[in-house]
Symmetry: C2
Subunit: 338 residues, 2 copies
Amino acid sequence: MGITVAIDAMGGDHGVAVTVPAALAFLRADPDSRVILVGDAAAIGSALQRLRASNDARVRVEPASEVVGMDESPALAMRNKKDSSMRVSINLVDRGEADACVSAGNTGALMATARFVLKTLPGIDRPAIASFLPTRDAAVCVLDLGANVDCTPEHLLQFGIMGSALAAAVEGKPAPSVALLNIGSEDIKGNEAVKRASALLAASPLRFIGNIEGDDVYRGNADVVVCDGFVGNVFLKTSEGLAQMLGDFLKSEFRRNWLTQLSAMLALPVLRAFKRRFDHRRYNGACLLGLRGIVVKSHGSADVFGFTCAIQRAAEAARQGLVSRITNQLESLAPIPA
Amino acid sequence: MGITVAIDAMGGDHGVAVTVPAALAFLRADPDSRVILVGDAAAIGSALQRLRASNDARVRVEPASEVVGMDESPALAMRNKKDSSMRVSINLVDRGEADACVSAGNTGALMATARFVLKTLPGIDRPAIASFLPTRDAAVCVLDLGANVDCTPEHLLQFGIMGSALAAAVEGKPAPSVALLNIGSEDIKGNEAVKRASALLAASPLRFIGNIEGDDVYRGNADVVVCDGFVGNVFLKTSEGLAQMLGDFLKSEFRRNWLTQLSAMLALPVLRAFKRRFDHRRYNGACLLGLRGIVVKSHGSADVFGFTCAIQRAAEAARQGLVSRITNQLESLAPIPA
């Protein structure tokens, strides 16, 4: 099924230098789909020309005169920049001209604008940010990654529902297992919100498998891991920092002298398999869940490959009807005990 | 300076098979020190005999008739097992017969018993668990790792004081930099407790360097990282799980066929440097801080090398006067604004 994706062409650290070639790479892999490139029409036009794609009928350019800065206040960006590439991209989803949108811009502004324009789904108090991470055998969906610092048990239940729908849609898992991130300290099993969320999740129609600890997440013991945005952000950033440190150490050790350089050449198949399996670019594209439309956030520093992955994730979520999946799950939910 | 360390010889997954040889390894490296091996005198005696150390004047055996199980309720263990190897080890610290004690037993029971027997220092509401982790260049002290799930800003300030004293004592850093683990979401910088803790830390005599995100911890940007026990436990377990997954993947890829096995042999200097630098056993030995005595918790599954590291950490903390360092820091603290 052909999908139309609106792309904030100006967002992120690299703007059109990344977003335009990524959009074209997406179309090459998904030839029935379409893209709407939103932003400075001249800059987008010349990027298309350089890539000989000016006449591709699947590419539409939608002008937008403003850009939201990476450090701009989300509230101010939302109020003052009504013609930003970010805002116009979201408007296209709202008007049904696009099935999904992708931006590598300011996360806070994207969330605030998406929430304002698209509104949240009935039954969702707070949208959440979800992302996939590689585990031993597959990928795990973790949410919330930073949109909601203080969460009630009801919020955590809603995250479980949204994450389950996302894993089902994007990873093709029919009944994803859902776990609650907790700690295994002997006498205190989690804080009050987590304890009560556990009861709500157990009573829900989700396939809830109980608590999970940080180390078991990477053993792939759950398809979806639910936590508040503070804990989720620490989880994500810690993982990124540790993986980077270990990778950098290996790299510098292999470069130490000619002998280690030779051994690196011989170890190339192993190092390549490692890179392929854990390449963070493949997991780029965090989903803003709980909105009446699909919005995907790319890393600001994503390269063409990474940004293409984010567009593909947005298209897949749209193709698999992510929003109606979440709505259906919410409707099947028993009334929440007060 | 010679130090006397009481060792719970029965704790952990391996008991005397690990604790006794580790105690002797400690004495070989630190010949002026002494150990008190606490537990089943017959089992300890035969372990000493096997290692030809029965007549070592630096080794004392202190009988204890009970053992706290790894899954036992901390409250019940504390109430009912007054002659456990864990309790007797802590009693030796309380009576001044030992300068520190080490146990690989049940964390909850160790904390509950240590708190009951030794009491907390004046100015400390709650003891915390602190551990060192390897970063890009050095080691970082992180606390709390799970003793306190819900923390007030005052607790976080106290963790900063205790962690700073620990890093100064054990790592020899004269004025350790202290950071508060937080998230970098654009519009919401942390929850309320973290925000207020930041103000308290900034007003303290500590070298507070502000907020830190999970990825920057591994860049070695701070000597001490403060967080509540829930977040700290997630940080620790996530790191352990990710490092294990990446290590296991590399191992299995290098074992894939004769060619990759050959390349692993050639890459041995690199792989060894990697293992040496990030060997979690070197970082074994979490400190229970805020008590009127030094108590170190080893991983339950530690081997002889890992358990030896934990004993060495306990001895170093005692040698450097950890408890009086914390007391002095607390006294130098300006009255906390209400």
